[in-house]
Symmetry: C2
Subunit: 429 residues, 2 copies
């Protein structure tokens, strides 16, 4: 499909706003400009692009798609089933027993609900960890959604052999899919498995990701076991030799921050989940000052429960301000960078990290003609502080429109997906 | 207008869900039931109601309108003009100088932007304090929106005489409008004015409201001035003899909480604003345990910047969990009560506090057929943890539909309002 967006405002790499046109040819942005000098695209006199659609953006805003840099998409099956419970009860009496009942083909359905929700929030790709990677990847590919799957290696549900097989398979499976090495967490993965994973990282020169220092107890128990923090342990074991990153990263000390900075690791913060499970507030200001790449994730719908980047963006800046007792920290532009380019960097998606010629067309259209976006003092601050899913008019992944004016253009009818999902949860009860 | 909602799910006073019909006659709910036994409404055989509209709710959810229990609506003029600044700089270099430039007729325009945003978020009434009460009230009345205005008595912009005149005028002005006694804050209102206000409270047997203990510094300075906290000062001065309440109420000690409990005062919490200005987290759990009525406000758009009750609801429970280090505190049902009935109680709106026969028809329709509301394990938890403005399909105030499917039915075209607003802010720069 060739799609011409005209009469647009466009958020650039530098978080500035430019006005003009953005052209999509196939899955790629082929032109951004005033629509007058198009010699970079139409090289010969008489060259024309045949447009499948020409969209008048009416001076609304085209933005790079948000990158949801940490989630467990299929856990929509647990949404609102296990809230307002102490953390251990939540995990041991709700999450684990119910996950044990979930089948792969059911995870496929629930992943689709998450994908739809991502699209309503301008999210065009997700960094997903789950016990059914195959089914989650398939749901994404079937919907046309971009996924970076990360292995959740642990003592109970997976092995190094499976992991390596998946790594090889899904890095050569579909243009919408890639696969990273990862493990669930220090407290669920024994040292032998971690050593094996370090070996795979070495073999493939691959970065490694994991849940890291989400709770105070997790760090204390690791220190009891190994005499050091999770980050220090992973560093010593060689897991960070080729980069990677951590999810949550709340209970970090200065040494942990130094390691992340030195190894060029990404911190993926998950503020809504960290509130709902009473985990704490990540020291993002310190991390930012250390030059660490920051990204934002919703975490899974069992612990958030909303898959909404607008809510997360407000929380990133609001909680940093609260933590530092300073209303000036974590500027809106920095947060917007985290939600887009920072996320892409964490996920290895350098080809769709911003709106520029040659990049994949992963973008969304923000309706500014709504009361929450008015007046127009400052568009990026409006986006971060008062933006909402309600403003998302159109979401495109890899050049295809998957969501527009409240309608989904994925492989299946929403009502069918909801029906199947509710049948499954009825059976589970 | 007579409007019949059928095929509905309806949120009841007890936060349960019932299924059936809800009928609106004029501005009042006249029937809730299965639509079969209608003898309570159509008393004679052959009695029929002529419907202006019959709306198939398609098993979506009718809810009592949210009550925004603390705001400064017209401050949309400052949205995104003054963010990411230290508190004092924000107040002294941005808010006050820009407010000095604002005219009453301009406040009227900006109040309309806020009203529109309220409607998109299912908010049907606002408890508003501002320097231009007359214009804000008029904007609400012209739009058909319900307002409780509270006087913002202070040393600089108003007098007791004006206040009393407004109190008398606006409690007998329009069915959509009422007026409460209030002052801006301890640090902006000298003791003589407060004594005068206590006199008016006594004269009219009227409750009194104010910003209270929003920042640590405010409480410390009050203790330096008077040797006691703001709450203790106001209690001793007789300001709470007829009830009332406080906005923010973050830096409360046990004695403050006791006073609020004893006097049946309401605490209106403003969590997004308290994050963005780095003010702190209110001790809501303790207040709840003391039996204090709790309500939720967005605060004004200069300090939030979003006027969205869904964001506030998530923050109320999330921040309480964080503060208490306990994921079990502040259950979703309690939060929903705060956002509806608790707010109405704080604002003196006992005739539109819930959906019941005889109550004013202030309600909204929540679209559940969206991915963020699926599956349907638990509707109230879905509402509080993953609900969004995107789900608000229709908002009705006093029996009139003011917002439906993204369209506004207020006195003026949105584009006209935005145009005027942007012209004003351009002049201000």
């Amino acid at each position: 499909m060739n799609i011409r967006f005209y009469n647009a405002r466009i958020l650039t790499e530098t978080m500035d706003i430019t006005e003009g046109e953005l052209w999509v040819r196939g899955n790629t942005i082929c032109y951004i400009g005033d629509g007058e000098d198009v010699s970079s695209v139409c090289k010969e006199p008489g060259d024309v692009i045949l447009w499948d659609r020409e969209i008048d953006v009416k001076r609304n805003l085209l933005m790079p798609g948000f990158k949801n840099a940490h989630t467990h998409s299929a856990m929509t099956f647990l949404r609102s089933m296990a809230d307002d419970l102490p953390l251990q009860e939540w995990l041991n009496e709700q999450v684990f027993p119910n996950e044990a009942k979930l089948k792969g083909e059911e995870a496929y359905i629930f992943a689709k609900i998450a994908i739809m929700e991502y699209l309503t929030s301008g999210i065009t790709s997700a960094f997903d960890m789950y016990i059914y990677p195959k089914e989650v990847i398939q749901a994404c590919v079937d919907c046309g959604f971009r996924i970076v799957q990360v292995s959740g290696l642990n003592n109970f549900t997976s092995s190094l052999e499976e992991l390596e097989e998946q790594y090889v398979t899904y890095n050569d499976y579909h243009e919408l899919c890639s696969y990273k090495l990862g493990f669930h967490a220090e407290y669920t993965t024994d040292k032998k498995l971690l050593e094996g994973l370090a070996g795979l990282s070495e073999k493939y020169h691959a970065p490694v990701y994991t849940h890291n220092s989400e709770t105070k107890r997790e760090v204390e128990e690791c220190r009891q076991r190994y005499g050091k923090s999770p980050t220090q342990l992973f560093e010593e074991m060689g897991l960070y030799r080729y980069g990677g990153g951590g999810y949550h990263c709340i209970w970090f000390d200065d040494e942990d921050i130094d390691i992340f900075a030195k190894r060029n690791l990404s911190v993926v913060t998950n503020p809504a989940s960290n509130l709902k499970l009473a985990s704490g507030i990540a020291p993002l200001k310190k991390m930012q000052e250390a030059g660490i790449n920051l990204a934002i994730g919703t975490d899974g719908p069992a612990s958030n429960n909303c898959l909404d980047m607008f809510r997360e963006m407000f929380l990133v800046t609001g909680l940093a301000k609260l933590r530092e007792h300073d209303a000036a920290v974590m500027d809106a532009n920095d947060v917007l960078y985290m939600a887009t380019t920072g996320g892409a960097k964490a996920m290895g998606l350098s080809d769709c990290d911003c709106l520029a010629v040659g990049k994949k067309a992963d973008l969304f259209l923000m309706d500014l003609m709504q009361p929450n976006m008015q007046p127009e003092h400052n568009l990026t601050k409006n986006l971060v502080y008062s933006g909402s899913k309600q403003n998302v008019k159109l979401t495109m992944v890899n050049g295809k429109i998957l969501y527009e004016d409240g309608q989904f253009f994925i492989s299946e009818e929403p009502q069918e997906i909801y029906k199947k999902a509710n049948e499954i949860v009825s059976r589970m009860k």
